[in-house]
Amino acid sequence: MGEIVVKNLTYYYPGEEVPALEEVTFTLKRPFYTIIMGPNGAGKTTLIKVLVGLLRDYFGEVRVYGHDPARERTEISKIVGYVPQLINVNDLAPIKVREVIEMGLMSLQSPPRIITERDRKKVEEIMEMLKIRKYADDMFTELSGGLRQRVLLARALVKSPKILLLDEPFSMLDFNIKCEIAGLLYEIHRDLNIDVLMVAHEVSPCIPYEPQVIVLNRRIYGIGKASDVLRPEVLSRAYPGITRMGGLMIIGEDHAHHPR
């Protein structure tokens, strides 16, 4: 069952009267390299958190490769490699790059989680693949944003997931680094046969890889190939802060409201 199925997903944050997600319905069949885009507050991160099992009190039906993320945490943790936003990681924690990656691998073991020679080799292989081996004994907090993103990606990959769910992997990065990360994700998708679903404000770094795009603003406004979805009639409905200038469309960073 290589697919993500979301049917009529509605989610309210505690105390909120307006839903963060409203009647969201879509299906992704593997293989997929997909971007969820939308304005600030559109529910992109909420959707990722539902898929990964961090938010459970939702309405509707969600299946990730046949498993319910709200109830089958163990299965989901085996299938999914989650990469959080860099801003959500604690900068005070004195943890080395190697230890961050081991965190992914050790999750497959029961306490006391002893690192074997085989584990070390696997960590080395992943670091080699993502070109971060020379930073292995550096502290995570000493690294630049692009390197940190690679380390978190390595942590997700080391346990051989079927799908990567990434929350804003391009945030706080220079454009060339964004393109580098987008390319790396595509290589992972193509060479390792791992599906990729990421949340992003901008899709331009991924455009060369012909991604599938989901346009979200609490509801789904479009889903399909980038060339089919990134059209004025779709974007102008999903982005309230859109401005037209001659033949150009300028998308502002407006906070989302539900366009009527």
Partner: protein
């Protein structure tokens, strides 16, 4: 006189080791506010112990154990509130108010015996008794065992709690392990050194050590705790003030000196 001095130094050494080990974890797990609320819990737990011991004549378990159990209960309250979506600050504030209420209640019920809890506020380290040394040693050993057994997991859930959850780690369980460690430290510190010194000591060594070096934070934290405690006591003795004055002054001095030696660097792939 010499025995008193030796006992005082042993107590300072043991408490420094406890603080040196625990303070960085308290800082990087962002549990300082919870730690402070547990210190308030020690006062309420101490007054509960006073009530049970002096008014109800219950001699078992010892007051320190009753206090520890109360603080662990408060730790669970904080943990459960966080689990239900409250921020650490809000959960700590709520548990502090619960402890304040119980402090007043048990002080009222204890009548004239309530004044005995004053020792918890100011500490008893000027006359360190052998039982204080035993208490510190037992709590230090428990802390070290916890740290050795769960070092990796405590780091993982502090570094990225959501990521740890999605990887399948029992974040809730390990959060309680952190809080129980803090409970051990604050009960031992408060019973031997007093509430005021406990406030100074749980925050400064770890926060400063982590701002100086992420690689050698543990050694630096233990060193800072030792300097603050030992030099603070000597300073207080020389000035003729209560220990908390000397320890507080030393903490401020070490903080300023540490800021002067700090350095930062960021590596990028370029």
């Amino acid at each position: 006189m010499l025995i008193i001095l030796v006992n005082l130094m042993i107590a300072a050494l043991l408490s420094s080791l406890m603080v040196g080990i625990a303070s960085p974890m308290i800082t990087f797990s962002k549990s300082l506010m919870a730690g402070f609320s547990f210190i308030h819990g020690v006062l309420a737990g101490g007054l509960l112990a006073t009530y049970l011991y002096y008014v109800l004549d219950l001699t078992v378990p010892p007051p320190e154990v009753i206090t520890l159990l109360y603080v662990i209960a408060i730790a669970f309250l904080v943990g459960e509130l966080i689990e239900r979506g409250y921020s650490t600050d809000a959960a700590s504030a709520i548990s502090t108010s619960v402890s304040a209420m119980f402090s007043v209640l048990f002080a009222f019920l204890s009548g004239p015996y309530a004044s005995r809890a004053w020792a918890i506020v100011i500490g008893t380290s000027v006359i360190v008794a052998p039982k204080d040394i035993i208490l510190l040693t037992v709590f230090l050993v428990l802390l070290v065992i916890i740290q050795v057994l769960f070092k990796k997991e405590l780091m993982y859930i502090s570094f990225d709690p959501e990521g740890a959850y999605t990887l399948g780690y029992a974040v809730r369980f390990y959060r309680y392990i952190i809080y129980i460690s803090i409970a051990l430290v604050v009960v031992a510190l408060t019973y031997t050194l007093g509430i005021i010194i406990a406030h100074i000591l749980i925050a400064t060594p770890g926060a400063l050590a982590l701002s100086i070096s992420h690689k050698r934070y543990l050694q630096i934290s233990i060193l800072i705790a030792l300097v603050i405690s030992l030099a603070g006591y000597i300073l207080a003795y020389v000035m003729g003030t209560p220990p908390s004055v000397g320890v507080g002054l030393m903490a401020s001095g070490v903080l300023i000196a540490g800021e002067l030696f700090k350095r930062r660097g960021i590596k990028s792939a370029q």
